[in-house]
Amino acid sequence: MTTTTTAQDQIRDTVSKNDVVLFMKGTKTVPQCGFSSRVAGVLNFMGVEFSDVNVLADADIRQGIKDFSDWPTIPQLYVKGEFVGGCDIVTEMTLSGELDQLFADKGIAFNKEAADQIRAANE
């Protein structure tokens, strides 16, 4: 099943028009998968403004996003149009401080103390 070009256009449009986009299962307030919930939870806790795209609501997007990034799993985080990673990578970056750095470099507002609290809680 090749994904329709409209899905690819929709995805390209979404990631270019929104600074931070999370393609996830469920929504930021009602995540429906542990991995999606973890990434959405980190972003919520760090006070990061982001656009959530529920891939469960659209099969074309669910397959399309995997083709778009050549990455087989959901969730997928995009910052300023660039694919950052899935749950494992975002978790590692949060704990190492690389996510703070990425947000700072890209001019994305986030709550530094909250990020420090996450790291402290995971020592």
Partner: protein, 80 residues
């Protein structure tokens, strides 16, 4: 259809013959594993590139509604 730890290791080994591969069964249901892959070829690659290569080695076992492997917690590193 679930997968066994050695199936996963064999698939990864095919693409990374000299890698140090550690598979941990997270839930005993054949569907939730953690895999650590340490390989020379990862030197100079960022995490996304490293993990993309490992997912490619898993040849579609991961994705799709009928993906056999629902969850694979992946850690990749180049040897220190």
């Amino acid at each position: 259809m679930a997968m066994e730890a050695q199936d996963i290791e064999a698939l990864i080994r095919e693409s990374f013959p000299k890698a140090k591969i550690t598979i941990t069964d997270l839930a005993g249901d054949g569907n939730h594993y953690a895999a650590e892959v340490i390989d020379e070829s990862f030197k100079g690659m960022n995490r996304v590139q490293q993990q993309r290569a490992v997912y490619a080695a898993l040849k579609g076992k991961m994705d799709g509604a009928q993906g056999e492997l629902h969850a694979l917690a992946l850690t990749t590193k180049a040897p220190e």
